[in-house]
Amino acid sequence: MSKATEIVTPGTAAHSDDHEHHDHIPKGITRWLFTTNHKDIGTLYLWFAFIMFLVGGAMAMVIRAELFQPGLQIVEPNFFNQMTTVHGLIMVFGAVMPAFTGLANWLIPMMIGAPDMALPRMNNWSFWILPGAFLILLSSLFMEGGGPAFGWTFYAPLSTTYSGDSTALFVFSVHIMGISSIMGAINVIVTIFNMRAPGMTWMKMPLFVWTWLITAFLLIAVMPVLAGAVTMVLTDKFFGTSFFDAAGGGDPVMFQHIFWFFGHPEVYIMILPAFGIISQIVPTFSRKQLFGYASMVYATASIALLSFVVWAHHMFTTGMPVYMEMFFMFATMLISVPTGVKVFNWVATMWRGSLSFEMPMMFAIAFIVLFTIGGLSGLMLAITPVDFQYHDTYFVVAHFHYVLVTGAVFSIMAAVYYWLPKWTGKMYDNTLAKWHFWCSLVSVNVLFFPMHFVGLAGMPRRIPDYALQFADFNKWISLGGFAFGLSQLIFLALLIKACRKQGEPVSSQVWEGAEGLEWEIPSPAPYHTFETPPVVK
């Protein structure tokens, strides 16, 4: 990003009597129910995502408790399957995606010098239908026969022929989540297209804005396909259609093609905003410009485009002809080129920078190292011949948790530590933050690293029992899991403290090396910002 800092900000004069004038904040519950303020909605999204993270995490604790020892101890296999399914759904659609949408709401208007999101009323709706969706999904767990137990990927015929009646609730909740994400994505696109401050040209936009713009296009392209897939499951199960039923001329393998046509872009939806966050944080604490800004933009766009032609690498074992396996293998490996560009650029940004290691930077560095591990195991999985061994083992579980937990989730935590002082006006409790970081870092690796080994040794995923030789590793994995779960309670304590506005007041720039429009407005960010657009020179 070129120097976007020389700005005129008439709308955010820091005089307190001026605040009185336009910072009229409504009180009580109706403030949150009826709010159209991007900051309020961002806060709602972030808290919702964190609560869902704890709920989905509690389900992961059930899974790890059952897998602590071989044999069946704590839960019935059917309930175990419900836990793996709903854990996945909640973490993907309830935690990671809403957290990124929350960050987008808070930050994009402040970063591009806009007073709010372009469609504030729709913004309110896109948040407030989410709790309903998850209430439906969670309530299905209490139905007779239990909730969805077919894995978050809901492969037919598991979800059509062999599922319970609660499948209808699952389908409707996914519909609502999809509508919410699509509305959020439309809002982001319209805001970025139409509401940039004068002088904020495309190639001056902060990378978080760029990555979110590309993510939003991915969302509107593939969430409707997911909606179509769940609709087909619904009609196959309840209305006698045969999209996936061979007896009626359908094809169950086609389900996997449709699902992964959505599913692979979906994994980039969950990681591109993370790339944006890391690209904001690393330059700040390296006190250097980001290395290769333009190449970052092009790399993000190429990853997004390539994500549409790699989906069948999830399906190597379905009996594809060799030439198709070759195509999907090489297309997948091609993605490591733009991803490599990104990792290279972050490292090059740090190279000979004057580094300091505040908490956002610690999480960002942890992200770069651990996400790269996840990326490399992904490269292994892309190799068709060996994928036949890795398929449906814990190696896959290790891979996607490295990219989603130490990738996406760590980036969200980095983002929260980075921008929290701007939101609250107070520095977070650094002691708690250090405890949170180191406990999380150690436990997350104890939790996920041994999964590589048990996976390579052949332990299948999504099964509540396992062969005796995996017992020791699983004990370690479970202990790591419990420790990681408990570590997040430290984060909860830190966030509650921060929301109570405890801590040292911070300057408007907060971090010495921080650059960008959001660091020009006072801390805490006033309720209304940039009502008169700043001029970016």
Binding site: T161, I220, P224, G228, M232, G240, G319
Partner: protein
Amino acid sequence: MTQTNANNKLVIKLVFIVFGMFGFGFALVPLYDVFCDIAGINGKTENSAAIYESVEIDESREVTVEFITRTNTGMPWEFRAETKRIKVHPGELNTVSFYVRNPASSNIVAQAIPSVSPGTAAIYLNKTECFCFNQQPLTAGAEAYMPMQFYVDPQLPEDITYFTLQYTLYDVTARASDLTTNPNPFMVPQPESGK
């Protein structure tokens, strides 16, 4: 206001993309079949009879065709291939027979779905006659020998010397036409049971 107008225009375009992609999800269903058909990769054989005329028999090659049968979950029929394995010259017309029996106490209509492995061989398997082209009804306790007449296209790639044709029988009684008006032509005549 121009800002609102610009926003509305963009929103309309984006909503258009959303509905387009929703439609595309459903369009993938026929596209999938078309694509598999063109590329010949899904192991699906033609669902209509091939015509056997002026096919040259390639005496120099022999291909082994294996027949596997299975019934879908909940389908009570007995189902087996009378010929498990047959060696054929490409271009040669052969007939094999499949045995079915309905041990259930109710009338059942079945549909057989073929699948060829390796999938690339599917388009070279030409059936001139097959029980899988139609639904097969059987009254309770009845049995039938169902024929399938086929030839292997001489264009079959040299590297394929062995392939498997699998039939899965599905119970389609719920959506089948009335089976009293449509008796099974291959049914073994049954002795009248005293009533």
